[in-house]
């Protein structure tokens, strides 16, 4: 059935170079195709990099081996495939296992490949090693956590956030001490409860929010009420917090108990101002993505709190009599981001630790912004990769379409040529001119060419999910005898006589042309690879199923190859003169599965191969099973 010399060129056409280059150029992502049962059909370089398997090792294997034993036990691989089949696409994050058994954190997208008619063809799986990205995310969380801790640990000030409507959304230790509410009690409550009832009656709280929203900031000193009803004199700063588009996210509120300050001495007051400034800066750092604005604000705030104009932030430490406070990420021993410099020879210990606190806020904010940038570029890369996957799928579809169109185009002139040659052959029938034999050979060549084009069309039908079975009742035993009869001559020429064990009759309901194609394919392989030994052909059946078996005593199939011979465009043997058996078995498998049956092979190298086709006798609603392989 296969034509040595012709098939390889068609194979190279089909194995589109562009497609391979495209997916192979992707090194950071494993991109591969699964068939509808989850067996790996293709493998790119990224997959090899991430998972450690070579294409030869993995193609034909079930993809569940990438999962941890726990996940496999829980049926996770099957759940994901079912999800992708149902939803079109599933995304999952979790541990996966490399060939060497090590685990990595992966982002997995499985997309169902369906035909226009909606029939499931298989899946495309894109796996990304997230280990690096995950670390960046954790670092981001940590740096945000540091800023929060800084705010939370401020005891002298109530620092909290309000929603745009004025409801409390965060709460710190200082707020708890000052106002007497725990976080659980107060979050979600309206902040007007901190005001005396007589002021609430005038709508004071609401007015303050409006001013802060309009002008960015509202500051006042006034009377506030604790949980226990006692009153205190407070300094309140209310700042509007907006996002990059200027949308109001809420308000930051810093409340200070002025009663304490009046009592306390100037040093305490200065400390308190410093703490407030640091806390405000921390809040601002959490809300803004604009590092320059934060740095500017830090300098202004430090100048104001220390009462010094000569404060700056520089990249490298300057010479001379300056106090330099490095801005270090706490987890980094390496270079500082920059230095807070003050044109003074000395400062009090309190002022120095204030500058250190400002530097810490800045360092945390800078490292947070770096992490965010990393995340953003990781996300960008992600979306670019998705576009490439789309492109790869598009190329795949275009290739299938091309095969289909090309094969149809080839068929018309071939039909005319074939007819003309047959007409000639008919006229010369019985003649002993040597041209008669040449015409007969030409008819045989066009026959082969026609069958090859048929196969190409079958492959494109399969990949578009359009391989349909037209069932009718007929006698399979008669068909097996007929096909065996057609093979009698080539089998005898190959010194591989067919030994038949076929019942009188075995009726069932199948696609006649398609099933004949399977029988022809399996038999022609046996004759071709049978190594000149008798071939056993058996047909048997019961009420429900039939079994067709062809056993040769030929070269056999190696264990590496046996898993792949039902795949697309695989040829198990490297011996050139044996020609291709790939397309035929691939098509046969789809025909058999289209009938709800199975095709399997067992083989021993040097001793021969046995192909077994099992089919339900009548149409059932059972889903097709995967091709089974036993070595």
């Amino acid at each position: 059935m296969n034509t040595p010399g012709v098939l390889p060129s068609i194979q190279s056409l089909v194995e589109s170079n562009e497609l391979r280059v495209l997916t192979d150029s992707v090194k950071d992502y494993a991109i591969f195709v699964l068939d509808h049962t989850g067996r790996v059909m293709t493998w790119n370089r990224g997959a090899q990099n991430i998972k450690g398997y070579s294409p030869a090792e993995i193609i034909g294997e079930h993809f569940s081996r990438f999962y941890t034993p726990e996940d496999r036990k829980a049926g996770r691989p099957a759940q994901l495939l079912a999800g992708a089949a149902r939803e079109g696409r599933v995304e999952d994050e979790g541990f996966r296992v490399r060939k060497d058994g090590t685990r990595f954190w992966a982002d997995v997208i499985i997309s169902a490949l369906r035909t226009e008619q909606g029939e499931l063809r298989g899946f495309v799986k894109v796996t990304r090693d997230l280990t690096t990205r995950r670390m960046a995310e954790e670092q981001l969380r940590e740096s945000e956590e540091r800023l929060r801790l800084m705010i939370d640990s401020v005891k002298e000030y109530a620092i909290f956030m309000l929603t745009p409507e004025g409801r409390v959304s965060t709460w710190n230790l200082g707020a708890e001490r000052l106002k007497g509410y725990t976080q659980a009690e107060i979050v979600g409550q309206h902040f007007s409860r901190f005001y005396p009832p007589e002021e609430n009656a005038l709508g004071k709280a609401q007015r303050e929010l409006e001013i802060a929203a309009r002008e960015g900031r509202f500051e006042e000193e006034g009377i506030r009420v604790r949980k226990d009803g006692t009153r205190f004199w407070a300094n309140v700063v209310l700042s509007a917090v907006r996002d990059h588009q200027g949308r109001l996210l809420g308000f930051a509120k810093v409340t200070r108990d002025m009663t304490d300050r009046r009592r306390g001495e100037e040093e305490t007051a200065q400390r308190a101002r410093q703490q407030a400034a640091v806390a405000e800066l921390g809040l601002y750092a959490l809300q803004t993505g604009d590092l320059n604005a934060l740095l500017e604000r830090a300098i202004l705030s430090a100048r104001k709190v220390l009462g010094l104009e000569e404060i700056a932030i520089v990249n490298t430490p300057s010479d001379g009599d300056h106090i330099q406070v490095p801005i270090h990420a706490s987890d980094r021993k390496a270079d500082a981001y920059g230095y807070l410099t003050v044109a003074r020879r000395s400062l009090t210990g309190g002022d120095t630790s204030f500058l250190q606190a400002v530097a810490n806020v800045l360092a945390a904010a800078i490292s947070r912004s770096e992490m965010e940038q990393q995340l953003r570029s990781a996300e960008r890369a992600n979306s670019e990769e998705r576009a490439r996957t789309e492109q790869a799928q598009q190329a795949l579809r275009q290739r299938d379409e091309f095969i289909s169109v090309a094969a149809h185009e080839l068929r018309t002139p071939l039909t005319a040529l074939h007819l003309k040659l047959q007409g000639l052959e008919r006229k010369m029938r019985g003649s002993d001119r040597k041209e008669a034999a040449q015409v007969t050979a030409a008819v045989r060549q066009t026959d082969r060419l026609a069958r090859l084009i048929d196969r190409l069309l079958d492959v494109s039908r399969i990949s578009q999910g359009r391989l349909e079975m037209t069932r009718e009742e007929f006698d399979l035993a008669a068909m097996v005898r007929q096909v065996a009869e057609d093979f009698r001559e080539p089998a005898e020429q190959a010194q591989a006589p067919l030994e038949l064990e076929v019942p009188e009759a075995l009726e069932g309901c199948w696609d006649r042309l398609r099933l004949e194609q399977v029988l022809v394919n399996v038999l022609s392989n046996a004759v071709k690879y049978g190594g000149g030994q008798p071939i056993q052909v058996k047909l048997s059946g019961d009420e429900e199923r039939v079994r067709f078996e062809v056993a040769d005593r030929g070269i056999g199939i190696s264990p590496e190859d046996i898993g792949r011979i039902f795949g697309r465009f695989e040829r198990a043997t490297s011996l050139r003169h044996y020609g291709g058996m790939g397309l035929g078995l691939y098509i046969s498998r789809h025909i058999v599965e289209g009938h709800g049956g199975t095709i399997s092979v067992s083989s021993e190298q040097g001793k021969g191969s046995t192909f077994v086709v099992e089919l339900p006798r009548f149409e059932t609603v059972v889903r097709p099973r995967a091709a089974q392989v036993r070595a």
Binding site: P413, T415, A416, L419, E425, R512
Partner: protein, 128 residues
């Protein structure tokens, strides 16, 4: 096989000139009387003028102007033409289902096996 007098005439409806002419030529060599049409519409016109009506119509499926399926619908709705048997010529592997859908009397797959083609034609041309 038919009770009409059809005089071994065969209508070949096929859009590809090479295929059409080759089939006509071969039929002529086999002592049939072929006449041809390049699409469904031309075939209907030729059929309405033909006397006697052909023993059988060889019908391609995919053709410009009017395809085989439309031709078949038209032919079946015309009482003067609806008893002429049709054999579908199809390049598709699903020729069986195409033939069933078109309620044709038979089908032949492209590329056509000449012996099969002649056997089929002969079956419909045998006089009672």
């Amino acid at each position: 096989m038919t009770d009409r007098e059809c005089g071994r005439t065969v209508l070949v409806v096929e859009d590809d000139k090479d295929i059409r002419d080759t089939i006509a030529e071969i039929l002529q060599d086999g002592d049939y009387h072929p006449f041809v049409a390049a699409n469904g519409e031309a075939a209907l016109a030729a059929l309405r003028m033909a006397d006697p009506k052909p023993c059988v119509i060889l019908l391609d499926v995919m053709m410009p102007v009017m395809d085989g399926k439309t031709f078949r619908i038209e032919q079946r709705s015309d009482p003067a033409l609806n008893d002429i048997p049709v054999v579908v010529l199809s390049a598709h592997a699903d020729a069986t289902s195409a033939a069933a859908e078109m309620k044709a009397e038979g089908f032949l797959r492209k590329p056509v096996d000449l012996d099969k083609l002649l056997d089929t034609i002969e079956k419909w041309c045998v006089a009672d």
